[in-house]
Subunit: 192 residues, 2 copies
DNA sequence: GATAAGTCGAACATCACTGTTCGACTTATC
DNA sequence: GATAAGTCGAACAGTGATGTTCGACTTATC
């Protein structure tokens, strides 16, 4: 698939994966994480890190790409355009609140550090799935129409993120998160 | 009130106020704002900044203290323990969503940069007002009781912050914010 | 209008992070 | 088991932030 010139060795491949894993964790839990800290977390020398990702910017972009791809897959798997909007939203929350939150946090970071105009495109592709679902719910008459649609999207992402944070700080159990989110969001979005 | 040894000169007093104003803005819109940037924003030399606030840490603490005090006053002015819980929440949102958001953001920053155990106390004093109000609403039977109270508090702060951010990015007009927040929160919290 | 208080720019030391180079070493791969 | 690919520590230069010091200057205050 990705063979530029010579094939990569197996251990290099493993290290790259370890670095991306570690970088995702580091970036999301501490946005200013240094390259040294990421290398340490990945169990890899700093030089090796730079061998694969020539700059912090490149690494961040790589992590972002990978997370966007994952988010895309997870959303597609939840089939947000199938069945009634409420049950579709339920499915989406159950399967992907965590991935969507990572995506959101990385996007915030990338926007600050890369100041990206083209980035917005890729972000849209993920956000739009949620927006489409909400619009569909409005057309079905189950979601409220008295507020701007952008605000409804914001509401979903905002509570998603809040739940993820509460899980991180131990205020909420991970297995409760989807349930609590569902109960809160469905009622908040419901049409009267 | 605060005369340690000799009285401060009027221009010094003015500069301190300008610095605190500028620091609040800088910290909330860019958490890693440098001391040089803050000094520039305050229209003051870097040395003057250090003359009044010997370190970044001290400055942040001062900004935090001031914001907590403001938040306390604003909340007290909204009389959250008077009248029905729903109208009290309405009053609180109308008068103080902006201040409460600044408080939240500064608290996040302070928690990261100062790693504060004692800070939590001061934070509590502000958060508790919201929590008390929510508990009161539960007792009155108007707010839902099927979710952890901590999550309800999180919901309020999270949407507060989301609205503030949407105002910052121009997605929401400042004069709409309170209304939109009110519509979303009252429905999300409502008991069935 | 004298004096103390305050401001400010320039320059300094220190520190942490970024990214790079080197050379020795290890390990996958054929 | 030879070779190329990959790892790694040490050491380097560059940058940008934090605090500090100095000395000249301005400005409240009595």
């Amino acid at each position: 698939m990705a063979t530029t010139e010579t094939r990569r060795r197996a251990d290099a491949e493993r290290n790259i994966a370890a670095i991306l894993d570690a970088a995702l964790v580091c970036f999301t839990e501490e946005p200013q994480a240094s390259m040294a800290a990421i290398a340490r977390a990945a169990g890899v020398g700093r030089v090796t890190l730079y061998a694969h990702f020539p700059s912090r910017e490149v690494l961040l972009a790589a992590v972002l790409d990978r997370t966007i791809a994952q988010a895309g897959e997870v959303i597609r798997a939840a089939a947000p355009s199938e069945g009634p909007a409420t049950t579709a939203l339920r499915r989406l929350l159950r399967s992907s609140w965590h991935v969507l939150d990572q995506h959101r946090q990385l996007f915030d970071l990338a926007q600050r550090e890369l100041g990206s105009p083209n980035l917005r495109e890729r972000h849209r592709q993920v956000v739009d799935h949620v927006e489409d679902l909400l619009v569909r719910g409005q057309q079905e008459g189950v979601f409220r129409t008295d507020l701007p649609i952008t605000w409804l999207v914001t509401t979903v992402y905002s509570l998603l993120h809040a739940a993820a944070e509460d899980v991180n700080t131990g205020q909420l159990r991970a297995d409760e998160a989807a349930e609590v989110l569902e109960a809160t969001l469905l009622q908040a979005l419901e049409s009267r």
